[in-house]
Symmetry: C2
């Protein structure tokens, strides 16, 4: 059995959302599983010096258009969030907590639902109430999230995860590493697929 | 006859090079022509605040890998230049001069050859000698380039072209605009094609 594909994403990343809806099918096609790693682009951008897309002149305006076109071309429900980007500490910590205490399957169910809540259903996932459908998808009550997600242990665990991602060269979302080969962006799924298929690229 | 596709590129952009080798076939498939516009990313980055890829921590290292993979996947000859990125004023001015005084066909022949000189043949296209094969492709002697390209008229014409590009929202290379719809990146050729095919996206 081959090693899982490492999948890094920020809950505020539209391309991370698109990737989250497609990565498992792609991996399964080549007998692979996926290891999901929530990261915080805010922390990563301190290393790279990059700014969030909407804050870059010209590129920002274009990026909104590209989010919508990409969603349409791939048949993915997408509605421009009222606030973007957002701080995703709560969602990332909640996922970290769910993975530790309830297992990966529930954490992944939470992640996919949290992405959809933000990018398709217009919910504010910076607040526990906005994470209610995502918690429900994991079989949990959202009232429990604040306590579970905000413990010092979980904060430390997420921080260590982000540091480990940066140490591996992760600088954006989505970011995939398969057998040591890095791929950045939903638009590199074609290269990731070529690599999974041929074992090289 | 539909309007040409506007194609903006910097001679120091690997993705611009890949696009330059593919844009005409894509346009022709949908009965379109291409209007080639050399730009200077250095000037554009003053507007966007972006840094050249190799200078961005983490992203820089990754980008070299992506240039090579993309070239291999598309069967395009590519050899990492000894110096990258480079100032492309001379090449862009030379192309502007050739387009004005000798016509678009020769300017495009020059552009494709200049890209190949830099990204496949290891030539230093910041110097007139390095542009010799590109000038030859346009039927010109490279000794003539310095005079032609560095006249004040041509400098002003290129500057006006870069300003006009920024005014249209161009922030990277390659950048294509078809019927008012902008596309950034060689990896958006699929979206550009969907747009040309369906008239919307």
């Amino acid at each position: 059995m081959s090693a899982p594909i490492d999948f890094y994403f920020d809950f505020s990343s539209p391309y991370g959302y698109f990737a989250a809806l497609r990565i498992e099918a792609l991996a399964a096609k080549y007998g692979r599983t996926v290891a999901w790693h929530p990261v915080l682009l805010g922390a990563i951008f301190k290393t790279t010096g990059c700014a969030p897309l909407p804050m870059v002149p010209l590129k920002g305006d274009y990026s909104y258009r590209d989010f919508e076109r990409t969603a349409r071309l791939h048949g993915i429900p997408y509605k421009r969030p009222a606030t973007f980007p957002i701080s995703t500490q709560l969602a990332a910590r909640a996922m970290t907590w769910i993975a530790r205490d309830f297992g990966d399957a529930k954490a992944v169910a939470f992640a996919k639902a949290a992405f959809a809540s933000y990018f398709a259903d217009g919910l504010d996932i910076t607040r526990p109430e906005g994470l209610a459908p995502a918690c429900e998808a994991a079989g949990l009550k959202h009232e429990a999230v604040l306590d579970g997600a905000n413990s010092q242990d979980i904060k430390d665990m997420l921080k260590a995860g982000v540091d480990a991602a940066v140490a591996r060269g992760v600088f954006g979302s989505p970011f995939m590493i398969a057998d040591g080969e890095p791929f950045w962006g939903f638009d590199r799924f074609d290269q990731l697929e070529a690599f999974l298929k041929n074992g090289k690229i």
